[in-house]
Subunit: 114 residues, 4 copies
């Protein structure tokens, strides 16, 4: 329960901290790494992986040659451990809903070394 709560915090934080950031194809990699490592600072995080959809960034370039990070460009997986419970959660744009959906992917309760 607490691990799921913590995973939710990380995805909510990630999304609302970084959406709106100016982005272009040549800054995708550094932004992806900065987001991963920034969110990895938060408590109980074991792993953060971020993807930024390069095709969509390219399609979205404005007249000045850049775009802004939007929910449909961004996907993320976070793995959180709290008192032996490991939760994996993801943010992924769900085309059918036109919505950046956050969902629990797996929950592994306690037991043994993480």
């Amino acid at each position: 329960m607490k691990a799921a709560f913590e995973a939710g915090i990380k995805l909510g934080a990630l999304y609302h901290q970084f959406v709106g950031t100016p982005i272009s194809p040549k800054t995708i990699n550094v932004m992806k790494e900065a987001i991963e490592r920034s969110i990895s600072n938060q408590p109980y995080v074991r792993r953060v992986r971020v993807e930024i959809n390069e095709g969509l960034v390219k399609k979205s370039l404005n007249v000045f040659g850049y775009s802004e990070l939007r929910g449909d460009m961004l996907s993320a997986v976070v793995e959180v451990e709290y008192e032996g419970c490991v939760v994996v959660a993801e943010l992924k744009y769900e085309e059918s809903l036109e919505y950046p959906l956050m969902r629990l992917v797996s929950v592994r309760e306690g037991g043994g070394p993480g």
Copy 2:
């Protein structure tokens, strides 16, 4: 589990969307209401209450007569319902840790009309 995850998302979003906002004693009320109603738009939310510590805002005024919303000024309670499970979670600055702690307050599993 899913309700706790959703509650985490709301608190992470609330914090990272609004921290850094210029604030002064006379704009506390409108900002508090805007945050509450903004986050209430998100899925599964039943209630959001936000408090902004007026004393701390006043103590933190800069030479231009305002401050910025920081974690130590901000507290929030969110109530989320997912498939009959109601979770209450809060954000509250924990003096002993000097940290804006987010925690689960109560979990009421399914059963009956919410």
Copy 3:
């Protein structure tokens, strides 16, 4: 010069602080007022007016009945005074560029009571 610089700061701050905020038709008014009053806290500001395009918010509602504040929904006018120079600047989505353009609207140099 300095007034124009200050006006730019306000528009950059306004945009990047609030883009990404959850929004729906019923929270447009409180968000508009919160943005106006929040940015009015900043130095040298005489006036901030914000509009959020209700039609576009309605058209952009997701399956959960809300949207996020985006640059194409948002327009703003800020009036800044610095040492007698009054600058009006605006943020407005420029359809032809598909870009939330910020531009100087007028500059009135010094002289007389503001």
Copy 4:
């Protein structure tokens, strides 16, 4: 005038996009680079330099071993060129004011190769 306006936009954007980001000594470099390159995407920017005060980050670590990017930790220099006018502006925490001050450093009007 327009170059000064543009420089203001960049500093306002930089500040309000990234303040609140989780940070620790080991993520300073990637965050610094991500901010520089992200803001460099914006129109008319020639150069962005960001510094994050490592000593202050270390002093501000919470019980979980990280902090949040705050105005007093952050300094930046942006160089903007608009129609031959080059403006350098900076964000720097002013200890005497306890304020993250943004100011024009130099303005070089048109003429010759930038």
